[in-house]
């Protein structure tokens, strides 16, 4: 069970940034390996592209785009927090980062299906 003292928006912003960052770090080697197939094994890459047409994979891609956008906008918030004059609207900015990320990944999903 989650510790009660963590139950507030900016702690959630922290954990989402951490989880999205670790997830993307795990994803990137797979991503580069897949791209490298274009040079080393194009037929396998075509097979992979056919696999990505599955609905469940499209949905997973939505999650991936959401995490990517969340990490980017959340990271921009943190850089602003550390380098720009202080703003008291940290919770609003964290919520805004999540909302924009959901919008971007939602548009991606609607275009993908």
């Amino acid at each position: 069970m989650m510790r009660p003292h963590r139950n507030h928006p900016l702690w959630y912003a922290f954990i989402l940034h951490r989880v999205s960052g670790v997830s993307l770090a795990l994803f990137l080697p797979v991503h580069f390996y897949t791209l490298a197939l274009a040079l080393t094994d194009p037929e396998r890459l075509d097979g992979f592209f056919r696999w990505t047409e599955l609905a469940v994979v499209k949905f997973a891609e939505f999650g991936l785009v959401f995490l990517l956008a969340l990490h980017m906008f959340g990271g921009l918030r943190l850089m602003a927090l550390e380098w720009l004059p202080w703003s008291d609207r940290q919770k609003s900015m964290a919520a805004g980062a999540a909302a924009v990320s959901f919008l971007i990944s939602g548009v991606f999903l609607l275009r993908a299906i």
């Binding site: 510790r3 003292h5 963590r6």
Partner: protein, 242 residues
């Protein structure tokens, strides 16, 4: 009057630095009752050996902070109704500090870190010189003013996960004190402060989780102070490396 007949189910941590467990008590409920009232009632009516710490009872001295249902709070100003969950309250010693006995923690690490963060006055003039005139509207003075109501209760220190994960981390209260002094025109230790807060346990450990600011009972913002120190130390680093 009906609420006066009701009873609260209260779990209180009993133990010392080595081990302990939660012990259950039933305490009469009242319309106006703080967590400190509950602890005092247990000590006065059920178990005189219960150890805890308090002094002023009006939110000024900062000595009565405890974990209430897993959240750090100043118990003298926390109404039971705010914390009550299913008629139950758990009361434990502050997190991130060694327990002396029951609800009393050893605050030495907390105050040692104030000293380590150069959270002491560095005089800019001697007593023979005239007192420096301070403009109350000066931007630095306004920044310093934001942190001066800290009562050293250690609620922020107990709320901080970075403190929990890194024993050397100076913590929100000490760093906020350092930021206050850094902005104080009467303090002559700016470089000493920046050196103290930019080391291994310094401000750059902060992950901006914001628990310090969320739980500060005086509505102070240590997270903003730490962000200020991060900017000041970075500025100092780039200036010195020129």
């Amino acid at each position: 009057m009906s609420s006066d007949l009701a009873e609260l189910e209260v779990s209180v941590w009993r133990g010392d630095a080595v081990s302990g467990r939660y012990e259950d008590f039933r305490v009469p409920a009242h319309d106006n009752q703080t967590i400190l009232d509950v602890v005092s009632w247990i000590q006065q009516h059920l178990d005189p050996t219960l150890s805890y710490r308090y002094a002023c009872r009006v939110g000024m001295c900062g000595s009565c902070a405890m974990m209430v249902n897993g959240v750090p709070r100043w118990t003298c100003r926390t109404h039971v109704k705010v914390a009550l969950q299913d008629n139950r309250i758990s009361i434990g010693p502050l997190r991130n500090l060694p327990v002396i006995k029951d609800l009393a923690t050893d605050m030495d690490p907390f105050f040692d870190k104030w000293v380590a963060a150069e959270g002491r006055h560095h005089p800019s003039r001697t007593r023979d010189e005239p007192i420096e005139q301070i403009d109350p509207e000066d931007a630095a003075r306004l920044e310093a003013n934001k942190g001066i109501e800290c009562i050293n209760c250690s609620v922020c220190y107990a709320a901080c996960d970075t403190v929990a994960g890194n024993a050397d981390y100076l913590g929100p209260a000490a760093l906020q004190r350092a930021w206050t002094l850094y902005n104080d025109a009467k303090d002559d230790g700016r470089q000493a402060i920046l050196d103290a807060v930019s080391g291994t346990g310094g401000c750059h450990n902060c992950h901006s989780q914001g628990s310090c600011s969320h739980y500060c009972p005086n509505d102070l913002n240590p997270m903003a102070a730490i962000a200020g120190l991060k900017r000041a130390t970075a500025r100092s680093f780039f200036k010195r490396s020129k």
